[in-house]
């Protein structure tokens, strides 16, 4: 009984769903897929159409710019046009070449400017170093001059000293001569003194002898004492 019931409600449900799918899905499925496909096709065709019309316009524009040689076939004109076209082409090439060269030149100018600036910098550096050298040079020159004057002064001084030295030498020599002469005279003097002394001694001896003789012969009144003292005195002097 339960089984039957179950099959009943299940059957009822599945029938309804199948019915639903048939009514709502299957009837429409094909037609809508078809529609979608047509839609895509139409879109693709539309975009293709657009592209084609653009191409068409382009072609039209191209042909419009070219001379349409009418039925007469003006070959001379077309030839001339071709010639001119070629000329234009050549000119264009030249123009591009020139443009390129211009660009290169501009680049070169820029490069050279950069170099120039570098050089200028180096130059300025050199100039400053030169200035420094110059100033140091002048300083050194001044020093040299100073030293030179110093030297001259020294030279003068030495000259003077030398002169003086010479003068003194001369004086010295003179004096030495004198000294020598004096020594000679001194010697002579001594000899003379010695001779004088000896003479004197001889005188004294003689006088003593004379005295003695006198005393012996002369009166005997005079005290002996006084006579001896006197005699002594004479001897000593």
């Amino acid at each position: 009984m339960a089984k039957l019931e179950e099959t009943n409600w299940r059957k009822c449900i599945i029938e309804q769903i199948q019915d639903r799918n048939r009514n709502q899905t299957r009837y429409f499925h094909d037609i809508i897929t078809q529609n979608n496909r047509l839609f895509e096709n139409a879109n693709a065709l539309r975009s293709e159409n657009l592209q084609l019309s653009i191409q068409n316009e382009k072609l039209k524009a191209d042909t419009g710019s070219q001379p349409i040689s009418n039925a007469s076939g003006d070959s001379k004109l077309t030839e001339r046009i071709q010639f001119l076209e070629q000329k234009v082409l050549v000119q264009q090439e030249e123009l591009t070449e020139l443009h390129r060269r211009k660009g290169e030149n501009a680049q070169q100018i820029i490069d050279l400017n950069v170099k120039l600036q570098e050089r200028e910098k180096v130059l300025a550096l050199k100039e400053t170093s030169l200035e420094e050298a110059l100033s140091s040079n002048s300083v050194l020159k001044v020093e040299i001059r100073m030293h030179e004057s110093n030297m001259k002064e020294m030279e003068n001084l030495t000259q003077m000293l030398r002169d003086e030295h010479q003068a003194l030498q001369l004086a010295f020599n003179l004096l030495e001569d004198k000294l020598r002469k004096v020594q000679v005279t001194l010697d002579e003097n001594r000899q003379l003194v010695e001779r004088l002394i000896s003479y004197k001694a001889k005188d004294a001896q003689k006088m003593n002898e004379d005295n003695d003789n006198f005393l012996n012969r002369a009166p005997k009144q005079h005290s002996a004492l006084t006579l001896s003292t006197f005699g002594l005195f004479r001897y000593v002097s």
Binding site: E5, N8, W9, R10, C12, I13, I14, Q16, I17, Q18, D19, R20, N21, Q24, T25, F28, H29, I32, T33, N35, N36, F39
Partner: protein, 267 residues
């Protein structure tokens, strides 16, 4: 165990045809833009599927506005795009023999209705919202044990499976979230949200079995939620009305959206 692959597969494959048009006042070009048709998966989210739509329409709006955010409108109301698309469709269009398919959505680039919908301008934000719902559901079902034991790689696989509409990739991981753990053969609570017609929803803790151990059905859920008018309401989900005697456990395993919630619309 979520083992009824036939149902899961059918649910996964549910798609809605949508017709996008640009709001006429915002057209800047002389030419009116063509309408854009798209099949969108019911289980996915709008921010994931509208890249192409944006690319298509952005050419037609003025340049100074095209960096503004795009938003969607249906029937004069901004579309709450943080809900799954299938839920939005059930809520806004409903069901019946004449749904007016394809679903007509108007695209806007100006006057973003900040007070009514979230800005989901990047897929990361949608992913964050999705993962948040997933985790909430797992907390209700297994106290959050499964989702927190998963690796970042598994989370990424879930998300990219949903994003790229890969059923096997998604269910390889989602299967673990739908398993019941231990001896009991049911979830702790059923993660579900019941939406009323204005788009507000209610949540409540509802167990998949009654106190006596009997399996609860959708009817029991409605009795718990709306005791007074349970007999007069019907529930719409995935574009169909599940029978009232469908067991809740089975519903949660098979009819949940990828965020693991049952999103039920009250009719």
């Amino acid at each position: 165990m979520a083992n009824d692959r036939e149902i899961l597969r059918e649910i996964w494959e549910g798609k809605i045809p949508v017709r996008f048009t640009l709001y006429p006042d915002e057209v800047y070009e002389l030419q009116q833009p063509d309408e854009f048709y798209l099949m969108v998966p019911r289980l996915s989210y709008f921010p994931l599927v509208i890249d192409k739509v944006k690319k298509h329409f952005i050419r037609y709006v003025s340049n100074d506005k095209n960096d503004q955010e795009m938003w969607l409108e249906y029937d004069g109301q901004p579309v709450k795009w943080h809900f799954p698309i299938g839920l939005l469709f059930d809520l806004l269009v409903g069901t019946g023999p004449d749904l007016g398919l394809p679903w007509h959505i108007v695209v806007h680039f100006e006057k973003f209705p900040e007070t009514q919908i979230f800005r989901l301008n990047s897929k990361d934000l949608v992913e964050a919202h999705f993962m948040a719902c997933l985790k909430e559901a797992d907390v209700l079902k297994h106290r959050g044990q499964i989702v927190s034991s998963m690796q970042k790689k598994d989370h990424n696989q879930l998300w990219s499976g949903l994003q790229n509409d890969k059923f096997d990739q998604f269910w390889a991981v989602n299967r673990k979230l739908m398993e019941v753990s231990g001896e009991v053969d049911h979830f702790k609570y059923i993660p579900f949200r019941i939406y009323d017609i204005e788009g507000f929803y209610k949540q409540k803790l509802v167990k998949p079995v009654s106190d006596e151990g009997q399996r609860k059905t959708l009817n029991d859920l409605l009795m718990e939620m709306y005791p007074k008018r349970a007999t007069s309401v019907k529930v719409l989900t995935h574009g169909m009305f599940p029978p009232l005697n469908t067991p809740l456990q089975w519903m949660s395993e098979h009819l949940s959206y990828p965020d693991n919630f049952l999103h039920l619309c009250l009719v």
